[in-house]
Symmetry: C2
Amino acid sequence: MERRSQAERTEQMRARLLSATIECLAETGYGRMSTNDIVRRARVSRGALAHHFPTKAALVTAAAERLVDQRGAEFRERLSAVEPERRTPDEALAVLWSFYDDPTGLALIELTVAARAYPELKVVLGRMAEQIGAITAEMVLEYFPDLAQLPFIEEALRSLHALYAGLALSAMAGAEAEVQAQRVREFLGVLALNMQVSTTKPQSSKTLRSKQ
Amino acid sequence: MERRSQAERTEQMRARLLSATIECLAETGYGRMSTNDIVRRARVSRGALAHHFPTKAALVTAAAERLVDQRGAEFRERLSAVEPERRTPDEALAVLWSFYDDPTGLALIELTVAARAYPELKVVLGRMAEQIGAITAEMVLEYFPDLAQLPFIEEALRSLHALYAGLALSAMAGAEAEVQAQRVREFLGVLALNMQVSTTKPQSSKTLRSKQ
DNA sequence: ACTTGGAGGCAGGCTTGCCTGTTTGTTTAT
DNA sequence: ATAAACAAACAGGCAAGCCTGCCTCCAAGT
């Protein structure tokens, strides 16, 4: 191993620990995940973990924050990665679903359930909910400005996230969420079509509210 | 304590244990729930638990089955409890939501997440998904036959369940799901309206498929 | 340039407490 | 009387946190 500065050592170690935590969270789940699993996966000792994160709650909270940032960035990335001519609402839905049908999506659900016991996690996940909502609205405004004019667009997007979260949740219990997501996407397609048909006439005055 | 027959003793003990399990599941969550908590809450000894349920997995599986039946029955109950003149779709949505915004709803989510590790739980929850889907479709057909004619009604109902599940899930992380559910309900109201407006013309030929 | 002292990074074992399953003993029903 | 229902102590295992000691880096002094 080449020489590394102290700051680099710290940064790399923390990154390894947090990545391992997120992976364990996605694979094993929160309940069955132990700090031993994490240090084993990260190839470090228990002492290293204790040095950087005094308690398990601190570790998980930090992992949640990292997960939030990671997903926020990746969301923009994936959506802007599709070629401009393929940027249909249906494609956007596929991207959104790929965002939930993901190991990190599972980790997020595990964290959400675990947050019931950790109030600190609640605030992190609360931040994430706002952040994701903002990014989503922003993306819609950028790529589908006509959709952003729809009256209940804010509720629609929130519902969309809840819908996909619920789908991913039921996938944990063995449901074939992949095909369900596909059919739901078709369903949402005709829904949005109907919305547009019946709202393009006069109701476009009501724009999306800035704050809840 | 008066004299009870053996069958009564068994039945009551099992009921107490399963109720306590479901309560602990809803309150403490699956991860932090121990068999000690359960016997303490049920006011019985560890031996009694061991006698009726040899392992924790057996106990939880049995509790899940009881929860499924319980919720199935309660669903019909709550929906048929509203006076006939108030049986609007909006009211039905409120009933459906009350079905998720419930301690047993929380317990169900906990079980769903836990099912990722227990394959036996998966089959129980799979049964439940089918059962709930069937009951929902049945109820819609009985109370809102015109809605049952809509083209994507099966996907719509499935999405509705997923949506509410996702809402309840985010409520675990501190979101004020109550108000969100209310606004989503309004949103769904206009949505259904639009669906009806634009689908009452020709597309009523496609009825809901019997099997996926 | 070289050394030296200190501080932070890190390894691995220990320990206390809890959790599950088992076993032995007691009560209750048939 | 005999078997089932129940109680209570017991045993093994595991997880989280702590603790001691070693190693690596960096800065200050010479």
